[in-house]
């Protein structure tokens, strides 16, 4: 049972980016312009805060990135399952994939009742203590 996963096309780009920047992480953004999109940064470039929620890792054994979101935003998002996808475009934040002419984006669905029954019992992990 995972809260977040990554599409095969997005994982290919994540691997390419890992080859350039080393280990990576995602932080889901909110707000203006390029907001409501996942930001992909070199691991430890962005300081994960104690109030950030760790939703899980995306990727495979070869390339695995933790995915975080601010705790306050998570309260509004927690009932939805997220998939990191990729589309042609040009983000305006500091996300590493933008120079490739592509942008990571989130696709969402609601958790099914049986999924939610499991997740509800699981502790929400915050900060980097995972």
């Amino acid at each position: 049972m995972n809260r977040v996963e990554i599409s095969p096309e997005a994982l290919l780009m994540l691997k390419k980016m890992q080859g350039i920047h080393g280990a990576l992480m995602f932080h889901q953004s909110g707000g203006c312009c390029d907001g409501s999109s996942p930001m992909c940064y070199p691991l430890n470039d962005f300081k994960v805060g104690q109030a950030d929620v760790f939703l899980g890792f995306v990727g495979d054994e070869e390339c695995r990135a933790p995915f975080y979101m601010s705790g306050s935003q998570f309260e509004y998002w927690k009932h939805t399952h997220l998939t990191v996808d990729i589309v042609p475009g040009r983000g305006s934040g500091f996300s590493v994939e933008a120079p490739e002419g592509v942008r990571f984006m989130i696709r969402s669905r609601l958790f099914e009742d049986n999924e939610w029954a499991i997740l509800e019992k699981e502790p929400v992990l915050t900060g980097q203590n995972h």
């Binding site: 953004s29 909110g30 707000g31 203006c32 312009c33 907001g35 470039d45 962005f46």
Partner: protein
């Protein structure tokens, strides 16, 4: 009237095949010689090449800015104000050209760029030209022989990172106060919309001393990051989203420099029951106030994207609001009859469509719109139908900034519930309040936690009205003379005129 598309016969502005960075008063090629294609969202076509700059180019720009800062900081406020006024005059003389360039670069209707973006930007320079002349320090008499003098001094060299939704206007919001206050600037435009500000810079190049304003283009990770994390900037100003805002604050904390951040919102637009007491001009104005969600294709940080309507007037109000929304003329952005144009980029279009998807999955109902729009002749442009959702404030379409022509509508039963729903959000940038009651308007206006509460109006952005966010919407205020403080140091001279010693030692 339909303006010719840049690059076609009769166009008032055309793009060069390639642009360069503007550093030290000259057009300079990027050190690594790389460029990227700039696409017009109006038709999905590449139309010019823009420098794909790196930290080396940022360093060159910082060199130029530091070389210019002492002289510019000492230039009299009268002389600086004259330059700002000359910039405004030249923009006015080239208003059509700049408006069409902005439309081609960003996708928004030329109706808006002619009537809003450019006139507001012009006025902004004039406002700060006046504000800096009128600004005074202070002299405080602490006791008979001791005086505290306060002087304003420029910060020196500042970095500014500009969003793509109002490429020229958002640049000017930051440029005008920074220049007025005597700072030199390294500015990075958004990579979606780098062209129009370069067209602007070409027109203004001779007005500013070399090095005072430097423009370096490129991607956030390659050019924005070295600027935001540089030890050589005294301040960083950013408009964008929350995660990048946090990252910029983290970089700033490493260098102990101030930041101003404008990070978006999810603005409530509250319609009280008494607006429908009469079917008059004011009620009609309220309907227009609702449809403001579609202004600038919804790509405004203060988009009134949550409409809160009193339950007793819901049916009557929504019937009119729906009809007015359906009457929005969408299409060729170069036609002055067009009310909304194209979204600024393909990823923006895709993100908006992903919210249509999750909105429906969460049980929100679409009253109109909900689809991509194909505009004949501009099939590859990024157009979205104006969309109205109804649902609950807990849904993600009510909580996240979609940055498209999408409004989520819900009802409330009394003023307390209206305030509670309005404040049930991470953001606090703008809000709208519509009522015939002065009592309700004041109570709502003070109770809603947002930096600006438009009362019986919306989407007005005049200079001299402070604009900025509460909560996760950011830090600082733009558009007002108080913005000068964000670009100045305070120098205190604490002077004793007493001839006698204290007697301590």
């Amino acid at each position: 009237m339909i303006y010719s598309v840049p690059g076609t016969p009769g166009a008032v502005v055309n793009a060069k095949p390639q642009y360069e960075n503007f550093i030290g008063g000259k057009w300079v090629k990027p050190v690594k010689g790389q460029y990227f294609d700039n696409v017009s969202p109006t038709n999905g076509k590449n139309f010019t090449k823009i420098p794909r700059s790196t930290s080396e180019d940022i360093e060159l720009a910082l060199d130029a800015a530091h070389a210019a800062k002492d002289a510019w900081g000492k230039t009299s406020v009268a002389a600086r104000a004259v330059i700002l006024n000359k910039i405004a005059d030249r923009m006015e003389q080239n208003l059509e050209l700049l408006a069409v360039a902005e439309t081609y670069d960003n996708g928004k209707g030329v109706r808006e760029t002619l009537a809003a973006d450019m006139p507001l930007a012009i006025d902004h320079f004039r406002y700060f030209a006046g504000a800096i002349r009128a600004q005074e320090g202070s002299a405080g008499e602490l006791d008979e022989d001791t005086v505290a003098y306060h002087f304003h001094e420029p910060l020196g060299v500042v970095g500014q990172i500009i969003p793509w939704n109002f490429p020229i206007l958002m640049a000017v919001w930051k440029l005008a106060p920074a220049l007025a206050a005597g700072n030199c600037i390294v500015l990075k435009p958004a990579e979606q919309t780098p062209w129009s500000i370069l067209v602007w810079m070409e027109l203004m190049a001779d007005l500013l001393p070399p090095g005072v304003l430097n423009i370096v283009n490129g991607f956030g990770v390659e050019a924005g990051k070295p600027l935001a994390s540089s030890k050589r900037v005294a301040k960083i100003a950013f408009t964008g989203e929350t995660t990048t805002g946090r990252l910029i604050m983290q970089y700033a904390s490493e260098n102990i420099i101030p930041v101003t951040l404008e990070l978006g919102g999810k603005s409530p637009n509250v319609f009280m029951a008494d607006i429908a007491d009469k079917d008059d001009d004011f009620f009609d104005k309220c309907i227009e106030g609702f449809v403001m969600f579609a202004l600038n294709q919804g790509e405004v940080c203060t988009c009134p994207s949550r409409a809160l309507i009193h339950e007793s007037i819901y049916d009557k109000f929504m019937e009119r609001a729906l009809a007015r929304t359906k009457a929005i003329v969408q299409g060729n952005p170069f036609d002055t009859n067009t009310m909304i144009g194209a979204q600024a980029s393909n990823d923006q279009l895709e993100k908006i469509m992903s919210y249509m998807d999750i909105g429906v999955k969460e049980g929100a109902k679409i009253l109109t719109g909900g689809k991509r729009k194909i505009v004949p002749g501009l099939e590859d442009g990024y157009y979205v139908e104006p969309t109205i959702f109804t649902g609950k404030n807990s849904m993600r379409v009510f909580q996240e900034e979609i940055f498209g022509p999408v409004v989520s509508v819900t009802t409330f039963k009394d003023i307390d519930e209206a305030i509670a729903i309005s404040n049930d959000t991470l953001y606090g940038l703008g809000a709208g309040v519509w009522t015939r009651s002065v009592h309700d308007s004041y109570r709502l206006g003070r109770a809603i936690k947002a930096g600006r509460v438009w009362t019986n109006c919306y989407h007005a952005y005049p200079a001299h009205a402070a604009f900025g966010g509460y909560k996760a919407s950011g830090i600082g205020r733009e558009n007002h003379k108080m913005m000068l403080d964000h670009y100045q140091q305070t120098k205190n001279l604490l002077v004793s005129y007493a001839p006698k010693k204290l007697g301590f030692f």
